[in-house]
């Protein structure tokens, strides 16, 4: 039997902390774990650090309904107690919403990720600029933008240039978009391929959308909410995407924004 106990914690990142960068969130969580008094395990060696690993960095400015962190403790604590003790010492914005015990030889959160779900909204000034026409009528601009987004995602191919170490490479993003839906307010609800291989950055995708309209995107043009991270599993001869911590019932993910409910069951995309 192992001397330590591994857990995966699901966190939300909402509100002004969206401007806190990935490394600083990690430092924040290291301190939160200490304040919570969790029996975190430290690495060996002459400059020991907490055994803590995060899945998939989130870009500065984006909010999230499902960030994941794997931690290792030296004694057993119930997952509910881990959530409660973290939330007692955390400031607004970052909240623990779920926790699960991991098996002895688990695969790290970063490795199991296959997809990420997003709600992406183009900020109003950009909508007006690209679709406002001469009338500068906002509802009209929004409608045009919605239609344009629908057309964009309906294309058979979405080609882009990806810069790699070997040089530039043309790739098709379309097969990496697992789901898309344009909501009533113009928000694009997407399930994008994610992880260490063929990761699709929302900015890369929207960069193409804007480029087709002769506009060069800046990071501030999009409002990005990453609602959850998913792992991939075989299911009835196909593939389904399951959140890293799957909801056991509908109340599980109370802090996060529920996305993709239309096609899902307990947060699972099929």
């Amino acid at each position: 039997m192992s001397d330590f106990f591994d857990y995966r914690v699901k966190l939300t990142k909402l509100g002004p902390v969206r401007f806190v960068g990935h490394l600083d969130v990690m430092r924040y969580m290291q301190k939160a774990v200490r304040r919570a008094g969790l029996p975190i395990r430290y690495s060996e060696g002459y400059s020991p650090h907490q055994i803590m690993a995060f899945a998939l960095p989130l870009s500065v400015g984006a909010t999230s309904g499902g960030e994941y962190m794997d931690i290792s403790l030296v004694s057993q604590v119930s997952p509910d107690e881990i959530v409660a003790s973290l939330n007692r010492v955390m400031h607004e914005g970052i909240t623990a919403i779920a926790c699960m015990r991991l098996p002895e030889h688990y695969t790290g959160a970063m490795t199991v990720i296959a997809a990420a779900s997003y709600d992406i909204t183009i900020r109003e000034p950009v909508v007006m600029r690209l679709f406002g026409g001469e009338e500068k009528d906002l509802p009209l601009a929004r409608t045009s933008c919605k239609i344009a987004l629908g057309d964009f995602f309906a294309q058979e191919k979405i080609l882009t240039i990806k810069k790699t170490k070997k040089g530039e490479q043309q790739i098709d993003l379309k097969p990496l978009i697992h789901r898309y839906e344009i909501l009533e307010d113009g928000t694009a609800r997407l399930l994008l391929h994610a992880g260490s291989k063929d990761h699709v950055k929302p900015s890369l995708l929207f960069g193409e959308f804007f480029k087709a309209r002769g506009y060069e995107m800046t990071p501030a043009d999009l409002m990005i909410h990453r609602s959850d991270l998913f792992t991939e599993e075989e299911y009835e001869g196909g593939t389904r995407y399951v959140p890293l911590i799957a909801d056991t019932d509908d109340t599980a993910a109370t802090g996060g924004q529920q996305t993709g409910r239309g096609e899902t069951d307990g947060g699972i995309f099929r």
């Binding site: 401007f19 301190k31 400059s47």
Partner: protein, 633 residues
């Protein structure tokens, strides 16, 4: 959903600057109150970038203290970095406090802690971005009361025109009285001028507009008088008399970004017994007052639990002089080892005890050891009263080399009063002797294929008010550069010169620091003029525009060397003479004369020099003296 999601700055702008986290507030332990439920809103500003300001203990203390009052809400403000500064101006966004994200202009007080002279233009930046008139005389009842504190407020004259009042001394004693007076005046609808006049009667409060300065034909001060009988002629520094019961924060604000001091800081004492003649802090915080090991330990445990930091640092001017240091370290080492907390101990004297401690607390990481001999010869070290002998330095180095250290940093000053070429050459000589000590102490087979690395670093001496060197001439920048050259030649001539690296700082910023340190009220027009030419963040060399400053001096018809290179007579009236630090001018003059004769003086534990700080009736002044003047114990 989030009370503070109404950020003062839109996302588009925050995403286009470096480190937006500087502007969002919401850090752990930051305090949110209901603005409708408080009477006094205080914006506390450290006029430099967030990471620097967040590292300052003083603000954390007063922030915690003020917020412990139910009727006061204290928030923080820092200088927006130039990228954000430009956006705020372009988009007409008034500067705001981090917690509420509301404009500073609507606060009751805007307080500045003034830690170094080079931040003066940043004070103007903060006032300007807030929409508060730069000159105190232009402000109305609609504007916050602008208050200054910290070491540079002890000669506040160069910036006197920008401040409504200064708090001279340690803030813990009389801020409550100031707030009560403010509330009363506000309730009674009394004008700003009446409040300031009444505030001047609170101990430690200096209201510059209530004093009149006259000058002699040669530009020196003829007199400084209070304009009214009820305004004290001299303002005495406020001092905390019991360090064990004084407020200390249990839960300091923990920034998201890595601040310069990314750790719990425990203030273990105030003041210093050493009396080094160049050192301003040594005089400003007299007398030495210790916090007991038990009180320090209790603080440390609470702060670690409330912040989650994994490092604790002991803050003081000279940690080795704390009488309970061994006990405190034992307590800390016992807890910290268990909890994976590192201990950092700056300002230690290098001796067998401290090396043993470092061995215990710093794992096996042998980073570099720092010595500050300050001067190259014993004669000059005596003249500056740096109680450190050649033998202290060499034996400290020997112990360190035995303990496995290979890197040594040495700090010196150039341009100290009475300095000669021999002193400059002495720097290379002592660095060489330390290297030789290494080769004698560590046998070749124990060197692990490496060798000793010595870094010599020199800064230029800037005479400061309230020190024995307040009468001293400061050398001109070109002389400094010349002396750095002589020092370099001295190092190059040594046998072990290949093991010695020499770095020196440029002299331009030192000149300005020298001007403001001993400046008078005439300088406010220069500071304002330079600010209007775009000078700010002068403490950051990449932002420092020496040419613009020189241009402004010329335009104002003010010679900067009047303040630095002039010889001051023993009986000159200084611009800061109406501020009473507790150390008397007579004592400082005695020390100035002793320096010129290269004579050293005793420290406070050996013999009382009658500096005057005894009036505070606390700390080392009440202790029996050893009577000996042997170097170190």
């Amino acid at each position: 959903m989030f009370a503070s999601d109404r950020l003062a700055i839109p996302d588009e702008l925050l995403l286009s600057v470096s480190k937006p986290e500087r502007y969002i507030g919401g850090e752990v332990n930051s305090v949110i109150k209901d603005a409708a439920q408080v009477d006094v809103r205080f914006a506390f500003c450290f006029p430099d970038v967030y990471e620097i300001g967040m590292s300052h203990i003083g603000i954390q203390i007063l922030y915690g203290l003020f917020n412990s009052y139910p009727d006061v809400w204290c928030e923080r403000v820092y200088s927006p970095w130039p990228d954000m500064d430009a956006l705020l101006r372009e988009h007409h966004i008034p500067l705001f406090a981090l917690e509420s994200q509301q404009p500073v202009r609507n606060f009751d007080f805007l307080g500045f802690t003034l830690q170094y002279e080079m931040c003066y233009t940043n004070v103007l930046q903060v006032l300007d971005l807030s929409g508060i008139p730069l000159l105190a005389s232009d402000r109305t009842g609609e504007d916050p009361i602008v208050i200054g504190g910290g070491p540079c407020s002890y000669n506040p004259e160069p910036i006197a025109d920008f401040f409504d009042l200064f708090y001279i001394g340690e803030g813990e004693t009389h801020y409550r009285a100031l707030f009560d007076l403010y509330k009363e005046c506000k309730r009674s609808g009394l004008p700003r001028t009446v409040f300031l006049r009444m505030a001047a009667r609170i101990p430690g409060i200096y209201v510059p507009s209530l004093y009149e300065v006259t000058y002699r034909e040669d530009g020196t001060i003829a007199s400084v008088r209070s304009k009214y009988d009820d305004v004290p002629a001299v303002v005495r520094r406020e001092v905390v008399t019991d360090m064990n019961s004084v407020y200390y924060p249990d839960a300091p604000v923990v920034p998201f970004i890595k601040a310069t001091q990314d750790r719990v800081a425990i203030e273990i004492m105030r003041g210093c017994i050493r009396g080094c003649r160049f050192c301003q802090a040594g005089q400003l915080y007299k007398p030495l007052r210790e916090k007991s090991a038990d009180v320090c330990m209790e603080s440390a445990l609470k702060m670690l639990a409330n912040t989650g930091y994994d490092e604790v640092s002991l803050a003081s001017l000279s940690s080795s002089d704390h009488s309970e240091l061994p006990k405190l370290l034992d307590l800390l080492i016992e807890t910290c080892g268990r909890e994976h907390v590192n201990i950092s101990l700056p300002s230690l004297r290098i001796d067998a005890f401290s090396l043993d401690v470092m061995e215990k607390i710093q794992d096996v990481k042998k980073s570099s050891l720092t010595f500050a001999p300050e001067a190259g010869t014993q004669r000059l070290r005596d003249a500056i009263n740096k109680g450190l002998t050649r033998e202290d330095i060499l034996s400290g180095a020997r112990e360190a080399f035995r303990g496995g250290w290979q890197k040594v940093k040495l700090y010196f000053m150039l341009g100290l009063p009475t300095e000669t070429e021999e002193d400059m050459l002495g720097i290379g000589e002592i660095a060489n002797a330390i290297a030789a000590e290494y080769f004698d102490t560590v046998p070749k087979e124990d060197r692990g294929g490496q060798s000793v690395e010595i870094t010599v670093s020199t800064s230029f001496f800037v005479p400061k008010p309230f020190t024995p060197f307040q009468w001293a001439r400061m050398e001109r920048p070109e002389v400094f550069t010349e002396r750095a050259g002589i020092t370099k030649r001295g190092i190059m001539a040594q046998i072990n010169q290949k093991r010695i690296r020499y770095i020196w700082h440029i002299a331009d910023e030192s000149l300005l620091e020298g001007v403001f340190a001993r400046g008078d009220r005439k300088l406010s027009q220069v500071i304002r003029g330079a600010y209007e030419k775009g000078c700010f963040f002068d403490a950051w060399s990449e932002q420092f525009h020496y040419d613009r400053w020189l241009e402004t001096f010329a335009e104002c018809g003010i010679d900067p060397f009047f303040y630095t290179a002039r010889v001051r007579a023993d009986d000159e009236i200084f611009p800061w003479d109406h501020i009473d630090m507790g150390v008397s001018k007579n004592y400082l003059l005695r020390e100035w004369h002793a320096a010129q004769a290269s004579e050293k003086s005793a420290n406070c534990r050996q013999r009382c020099l009658g500096c005057g700080a005894g009036v505070f009736g606390t700390g080392v002044c009440l202790m029996p003296r050893t009577g000996t003047e042997a170097d170190h114990e």
